[in-house]
Amino acid sequence: MTTIQSVAGEIEQHPDVALVERVRAGDISAYDTLVRKYERQIFRIAQHITQNREDAEDVMQDAFLKAYEKLEQFQGNSKFYTWLVRITVNESLMRLRKRRTGKMVSIDEDLETEEGTVPRDLADWAPDPEQNYTQTELGRILEKTIKGLPPGFRVVFELRDVQGLSTEDTAEALGLSVPAVKSRLLRARLQLRERLSRYFRQKKGAKGAASKKSAHTEAGSEQ
């Protein structure tokens, strides 16, 4: 997402820095701009972790309020959004801990799952597999599928692949090491792929699965 990635070189100031400076100088309308810019992403992150709409609403409000209160502590050496995500993750985990008293909830434990390292379902997908479902059905499938992943995987996938943060920014936002982010991203991608294959795989009798030839001519065109 272009709002997060700095397009210019390091010397150029990120537009958020100027907004933060204005808020610090007492201009609350600049904070209104920051909230509007990031509220949808923050809500999604809170949803991914809490898996509960009401909690996500509360977390979103608390995270923006906390960020506002702590703005003096924000160091310009990290991006405002990265800092905000970190607050959101902490607020989300606190909310979960309140709900499940006594049960530890963490984003940084290295979850060992059997799934996600060696692909098993190797059937190719139908062409344009999304076309076989309505938008509502597809939305349900995608939600159900990602909910099956551990929270630490869901958030890494959301930040890296959906919101487009760099690996380094994702690591900073989640308080993880870069190798941990990379490892989770690979496992998240493979687990989602495997789970979506149940819905999208080519039906038997349709044209040959995994037929060689130009299937990967688009390789590398992404991004």
Binding site: V35, G139, F157, L192, A210, E222
Partner: protein
């Protein structure tokens, strides 16, 4: 290149962060291995599908309500 070696570099291939010479090796493996080609293509599709169907979107009425609540609380904290 083995399938395990290919898998270890799958993310870099998807993210296009691979040096040209390694990329050539990976593409050769993709050309020769049906399984890895399926994994590569369907993993890329997985990412594209999630990118183009944003989950948990905020309906505008809820968004406005939450936005107003946040700003009201911030102003109170001034």
């Amino acid at each position: 290149m083995t399938c395990t070696e290919f898998l270890a570099l799958l993310d870099d291939l998807i993210d296009d962060t691979i040096p040209a010479e390694t990329r050539a090796e990976l593409e050769q493996h993709l050309h020769d291995c049906d399984h890895c080609e399926v994994v590569f293509n369907t993993t890329r599709q997985t990412i594209q599908i999630y990118r183009s169907h944003e989950l948990f979107d905020l309906p505008s009425t809820l968004r406005d309500r939450l936005h107003a609540a946040i700003m009201a609380r911030c102003k109170k904290g001034c």
